[in-house]
């Protein structure tokens, strides 16, 4: 029985740089779901999809697969995932004068974690791709199938929202 099962599988060589790729994929998944266990599940689902498709182990492809699996999961649960940005208009008071402003250490105080958790998936995703991965607006637009202009305004609003939330939390504490 075991031999019969093994006959259908074949051992593969571990792709080069797989550790870095999995870590990077995990962080991208984490930016979407903001939950460690859910991010691990998402990466595993994506890996299975890549294996099933016989596709290459490339960062772009892994990210696109993670994103597709994430959207599939939400569709199954019939949740609203990405809202239209044409009408997504939330004015923020805490407009940062500099998009990369100097701030107190929100990372150590845990406020940054809370502020990121308060963002929507599409906001965290865009922020992650731009700030952490260093993607250009064109590259994010390509990955997320949105117009470049939408990405630029989404990034601007996300930064403003983050600044607003961090400012508010700081006042509460």
């Amino acid at each position: 029985m075991t031999r019969a099962l093994d006959a259908g599988r074949h051992e593969r060589e571990m792709p080069e740089g797989i550790d870095g790729l999995l870590e990077s994929g995990y962080r991208y998944a984490f930016s979407l779901v903001h939950d460690a266990a859910a991010a691990e599940d998402l990466v595993q689902d994506a890996c299975l999809s890549i294996l099933a498709a016989g596709a290459a182990w490339e960062r772009r492809y892994l990210f696109a697969t993670i994103r597709n699996r994430f959207i599939d999961g939400y569709r199954k649960n019939r949740k609203i995932l990405f809202l239209s940005l044409e009408r997504d208009e939330e004015s923020r008071e805490g407009e940062p004068a500099d998009p990369n402003w100097e701030a107190p250490d929100f990372l150590q105080s845990g406020l940054l974690e809370r502020a990121l958790a308060s963002l929507r998936a599409q906001e965290r995703e865009t922020l992650y791709l731009a700030v952490v991965e260093g993607y250009t607006a064109e590259e994010i637009a390509e990955l997320t199938s949105r117009p470049r202009g939408t990405i630029l305004s989404l990034l601007h609003r996300t930064k403003a929202k983050l600044c607003d939330v961090l400012g508010r939390d700081r006042k509460v504490l």
Partner: protein
């Protein structure tokens, strides 16, 4: 109190996020062993071929539709977006007293917002602006008020992609008069209530 750039803090936050060693081992095991090899049946090849055919037809139809959209159709669609945006009366993100302030504040735009000469002739006063998108391009949505305090909405956007084919003219949509023209290298769209 020590301060740090917010982008550095975001990078450090995500650098701290790592999959558990168990998860990494599990994933590597999955990759090493791979999926059970499956042989594609004739039926599955037919499904793939049909899917490719549908995708190709859809792609061709979409491309043809985009190319064959007349300037009038493009303009009507953009004018409708402008009228809807005007009627929604969204909050502005930047409150300003003159157009020059917008140039300093709206730094995510891929163009410099300018004041069309028409606004000066009409005795319009700028109130503020916000980012928006028109035809998939980032645009400035600028709110003016006239001498009676009636708000008007001016959109400015670069004439690229389908916006390059926009036709100047006047439109009346949902009680809004929409004027479309090109000036200073930009497409200008002014939406104001009909008298």
């Amino acid at each position: 109190m020590a301060t740090r750039k917010i982008d550095d803090q975001i990078r450090d936050y995500y650098a701290q996020q790592r999959p558990s060693p168990d998860a990494v081992n599990r994933l590597k095991q999955i990759i090493r062993v791979g999926m059970p090899a499956r042989r594609a049946s004739r039926r599955s090849w037919m499904v793939v071929a049909a899917g490719l055919m549908i995708a190709a037809v859809t792609l061709l139809w979409t491309a043809a539709h985009r190319v064959t959209q007349s300037p009038q159709q493009v303009t009507a669609s953009i004018a409708r977006q402008a009228a809807v945006g005007h009627n929604e009366k969204q909050e502005v993100e930047f409150r300003v007293r003159e157009c020059a302030e917008l140039q300093a504040k709206m730094r995510s735009l891929d163009f410099t917002p300018v004041e069309p000469s028409m606004m000066q002739h009409m005795n319009m006063r700028i109130v503020g602006a916000r980012y928006t998108t028109l035809g998939g391009e980032i645009a400035a949505q600028i709110v003016y008020v006239d001498a009676n305090g009636v708000p008007c909405t001016l959109y400015e956007v670069r004439p690229v992609e389908q916006l390059a084919r926009i036709a100047p003219g006047e439109h009346q949509i949902d009680g809004v008069r929409v004027s479309v023209w090109k000036e200073k290298g930009l497409v200008m769209i002014l939406a104001r209530p009909m008298a």
